[in-house]
């Protein structure tokens, strides 16, 4: 297993390298000029040109690339062209809201969706099954921002139980953190509950028809033990895959939810950087995101071995 992990980590290095080259070139080919954002609407062409020179944007692309990649290899993602703040610092400021929201969403989704999916499979064709599947379709269909606004209207505006917006770090206390994280978590969970519940139902349904489940039942094992120990564990591989990719998607930014609840996460950081053509920030974000995807995929693969002893690397 250790050898496998080392091989996977080493294999990630060329992947990251290709991502770095691709992103760098793509950004330089996209129309846009950070100097224009800095200079503002009244700047003359000469002033724009002078700012471009001072930012090093007139250097040949290969020179810019090697300067940037040299810094990245030393752990320096550069400085924002627009705000002059180090990219690492900007990402550091934004990572906590994103990670908090991703974790709370994925935990809530698993806690709700997995039992729902198992029950729906167990009661296949019943009203309970149909109810769960209908709710699942609803969860997929309603746009996230609509759910967000409805929750804000009910719990923040009408009932005044929770704040409308914002984020408080856990370091400022559990309740301030929780009261601001609850609505965005609920909002985002709708779609993930729908997704995981459907996947769990389908996977468990497949397994329930297997011979070993029939054997377990024939041996008189209690139904809950059949479902949890025999069916769910064997159905877990596809469910874990969905949870893993869902988590990666949440980490890489949920810009609509972040906007509706005014959460200063990395989704908004990325979108703002793209709109301003803030190259170092975009490059840093994409490198970080691709690294996270590699890591999460690795963790999913490791999880397979823990859940299914037949899988060995």
């Amino acid at each position: 297993m250790f050898g496998y992990l080392v091989r996977r980590v080493l294999a990630a290095i060329p992947v990251m390298g290709v991502v770095a080259v691709f992103v760098f070139l793509l950004l330089r080919l996209t129309p846009g000029d950070p100097a224009a954002i800095i200079a503002g609407d009244q700047a003359s062409p000469e002033q724009l040109e002078r700012i471009r020179i001072s930012l090093g944007l007139n250097e040949p692309i290969y020179t810019q690339f090697f300067t940037w990649i040299g810094k990245v290899l030393r752990g320096d993602l550069g400085v924002s062209l627009i705000s002059q703040v180090p990219v690492v610092q900007m990402i550091g400021q934004r990572i906590e809201p994103t990670v908090s929201l991703a974790l709370s969403t994925i935990i809530l989704s698993i806690v709700v969706a997995v039992p729902l999916g198992v029950i729906a499979a167990w009661k296949h064709g019943s009203l309970v099954d149909k109810g769960v599947m209908s709710l699942s379709v609803l969860g997929f269909s309603i746009p996230v921002f609509v759910i967000g606004y409805i929750l804000i209207q009910i719990f923040a505006i009408e009932l005044k139980w929770l704040p409308v917006q914002g984020f408080r770090s856990l370091s400022r206390g559990l309740w301030p953190f929780f009261e601001r994280a609850l609505l965005p978590t609920l909002t985002l969970s709708f779609i993930y509950i729908a997704l995981i519940a459907r996947m769990t139902r389908a996977a468990v349904l497949d397994v329930l028809g297997e011979d070993y489940v029939r054997t377990a039942r024939a041996k008189g094992i209690a139904e809950h033990a059949v479902l949890l120990r025999h069916a769910l564990r064997n159905a877990a591989v596809p469910v874990i895959t969905v949870i893993g990719t869902g988590f990666a998607l949440l980490i890489s930014g949920v810009v609509v939810t972040e906007s509706v609840f005014n959460l200063p996460g990395i989704g908004r950081l990325t979108v703002d950087a793209v709109l301003a053509r803030d190259y170092p920030v975009i490059q840093g974000m994409i490198l970080l995101t691709s690294g996270l995807y590699v890591l999460i995929n690795l963790l999913i693969d490791v999880a397979y071995t823990l859940l299914d002893p037949r899988i060995r690397y």
């Binding site: 129309p31 846009g32 000029d33 224009a36 954002i37 800095i38 200079a39 503002g40 609407d41 009244q42 700047a43 003359s44 062409p45 000469e46 002033q47 724009l48 002078r50 700012i51 020179i53 001072s54 924002s80 627009i82 705000s83 002059q84 703040v85 900007m90 400021q93 934004r94 974790l103 606004y149 804000i152 923040a156 505006i157 005044k160 704040p163 409308v164 917006q165 914002g166 856990l170 370091s171 400022r172 206390g173 559990l174 953190f177 906007s259 509706v260 609840f261 005014n262 200063p264 908004r268 950081l269 703002d272 709109l275 301003a276 053509r277 999880a303 823990l306």
Partner: protein, 534 residues
């Protein structure tokens, strides 16, 4: 698996561990919590913090928080002393500015005349009005610690108006070591002498900017009026919070989570106006001017008759109806130097304001021999206040006989393409639209669209010595009456040549909680003089 469980356990247990930390943190934070804090959502997030390198209004607003100015304009358009008083020699060639007592930078050092000279020079290298002032200046020196002497080559009527310029780029004063930063490189420190200090440690670009009351600031004794008079700070902290979603900002204001929204969208104003806890008021009487600009370098708009035909085809009402909708928030105004200023006149704008030019436009277009060259008209789809103008203009231009190629793009692409002087087929353009704060166009020198220096002029690049002659004459005018006459003639000429097309004036009211009192009017939002009830 064990590791995963351990990590999970660490996360689950973390809040419990943190609760201890939270108690001590809460004690530390209690001081901040007790501070009187004003939370505002501004029109944009602060990213560039150097108010000299950029003309962005959010950075100008940031500049007003932490920097001060030598002079300032009041609501009657009169220049008033701020950091300095002044004297003018009898021959009108020497201006002597004397710094007032008690001026200190945020690092505790005294403000000196040398700091101000360096600041003026850096500002003048970036600002059009500043460049003009320096063209007329023989010397700008610090005579002693508190005296700045400006000697002119010849009498120039706009010395004080230049130094009291209220909008981008405002001549803010900085310590010499900062002001000596090259004008095309952003400053590294945020040290001013203004009424607030910038809290660098809490600055998160795109999230929030925090300002604390500068307890060493000595305000002037006069009543505050625009950026002039006493800048008395009545709150301990001001936090600018970025909220990308306007509906969220409105909800937050109504629930009391924030105190002030600089520019709520027009369509959400009725919700705010209906709330008893919120006041909606326009603080910027001059508002904004929306305008169209043609490219003078390439066909068909290199032909003055065709430019004029385009101007005749457009009208302000159709544009403003599409852009703003509610007439309560817009004004049909043909004045290039905006309505509500001493230079207001509608000469030359008759067809724009009366919507009577279409037939003449068709006739003129035929006379000019327009060959059907398509007009590349750029439409920014991601800026709410710039989306409608290109659509209306395209329709009206087509009705007059133009062939229009309206190209949708994001604002970033537009500003990049706008800088290209190549023909439209090679990535250039023919027409675009933008908006100006009234104070940025309210006289012939600050109005960059009237610069006629060809390829060195503002985008569109009109090469028109007569325009420059008008601007020179205006800068030398000795009285307001003379200035008015020149401005009137300049406007008539600019309309005749279709230098640019003013498409009306609109306002964007601000909204704030009724707990706030003392919100000042002005071309920029000011946060001094505002008090917040407990």
């Amino acid at each position: 698996m064990v590791d995963v469980v351990r990590v999970l356990r660490r996360w689950v247990c973390r809040p419990a561990l943190l609760s201890g930390v939270a108690v001590s943190a809460a004690m530390t934070l209690s001081a901040a919590a007790e501070a009187k804090t004003l939370t505002a959502v501004m029109h944009s997030d602060l990213r560039v913090t150097d108010p000299i390198i950029t003309t962005a209004y959010i950075t100008r607003n940031h500049g007003y928080m932490i920097f001060d100015t030598l002079l300032a304009l009041d609501e009657a358009f009169k220049v008033r002393p701020q950091m300095a008083d002044w004297k003018v020699s009898d021959d009108r060639l020497t201006y002597t500015f004397t710094l007032r007592d008690g001026l200190k930078w945020h690092d505790g050092k005294p403000v000196t005349a040398e700091d101000c000279v360096a600041s003026l020079k850096r500002w003048a290298a970036r600002d059009g009005m500043g460049q003009k002032l320096m063209d007329m200046t023989a010397s700008l020196t610090a005579s002693d610690e508190r005296t700045i002497t400006l000697k002119l080559k010849e009498p120039y009527g706009l010395v004080l108006e230049s130094i009291a310029k209220p909008s981008s780029i405002v001549p803010f004063m900085m310590p010499r070591r900062i002001a000596e930063t090259p004008p095309d490189k952003a400053i590294g420190e945020q040290i001013g002498s203004g009424p607030f200090r910038f809290v660098q440690a809490e600055f998160q670009p795109g999230v929030k900017a925090v300002y604390e009351k500068n307890k060493d600031y000595v305000p002037r004794a006069e009543k505050a009026s625009w950026a002039a008079g006493g800048k008395v700070v009545k709150v301990d902290r001001v936090e600018w919070i970025t909220m990308p979603d306007a509906q969220t900002a409105v909800n937050a204001l109504m629930s009391g989570e924030i105190d002030f929204i600089e520019q709520p969208p027009i369509d959400l104003l009725p919700i705010l106006a209906a709330s008893k806890e919120v006041k909606v008021h326009n603080t910027n009487a001059l508002g904004y001017q929306t305008m169209g600009r043609m490219n003078f370098l390439h066909p068909p708009f290199d032909n003055p008759k065709i430019r004029r035909a385009a101007l005749l085809a457009l009208n302000q009402k159709d544009v403003l109806d599409a852009l703003i909708g509610n007439p309560q928030y817009y004004r049909i105004c043909g004045a290039m130097f905006v309505c509500g200023t001493p230079l207001e006149t509608e000469v030359g704008a008759e067809t724009l304001v009366r919507k009577t030019g279409m037939e003449e436009a068709k006739k003129l277009l035929a006379e000019a021999g327009y060959d059907g060259t398509p007009i590349v008209l750029m439409q920014p789809t991601d800026v709410g206040t710039l989306k409608a103008q290109p659509i209306v203009a395209s329709q009206l231009l087509r009705a007059a006989g133009f062939k229009v190629d309206m190209q949708a793009m994001d604002w970033q692409t537009l500003v990049t393409r706008r800088a290209s002087q190549k023909p439209p087929k090679e990535g250039g353009w023919n027409m675009f639209f933008t908006n100006w704060v009234g104070a940025d166009v309210f006289n012939p020198l600050v109005n960059v669209s009237l610069n006629g220096r060809g390829r060195g002029a503002w985008f569109g690049w009109p090469d028109d010595p007569k325009l420059e002659a008008f601007r020179d004459a205006y800068s030398r005018a000795g009285s307001l009456d003379e200035q008015k006459t020149i401005a009137r003639d300049l406007q008539a000429y600019a309309y005749e040549q279709a230098i640019y097309i003013p498409l009306g004036q609109y306002i964007v009211p601000s909204a704030w909680r009724t707990e706030l009192t003392g919100v000042l009017d002005g071309p920029a939002p000011y946060f001094w003089n505002i008090d917040k009830a407990d």
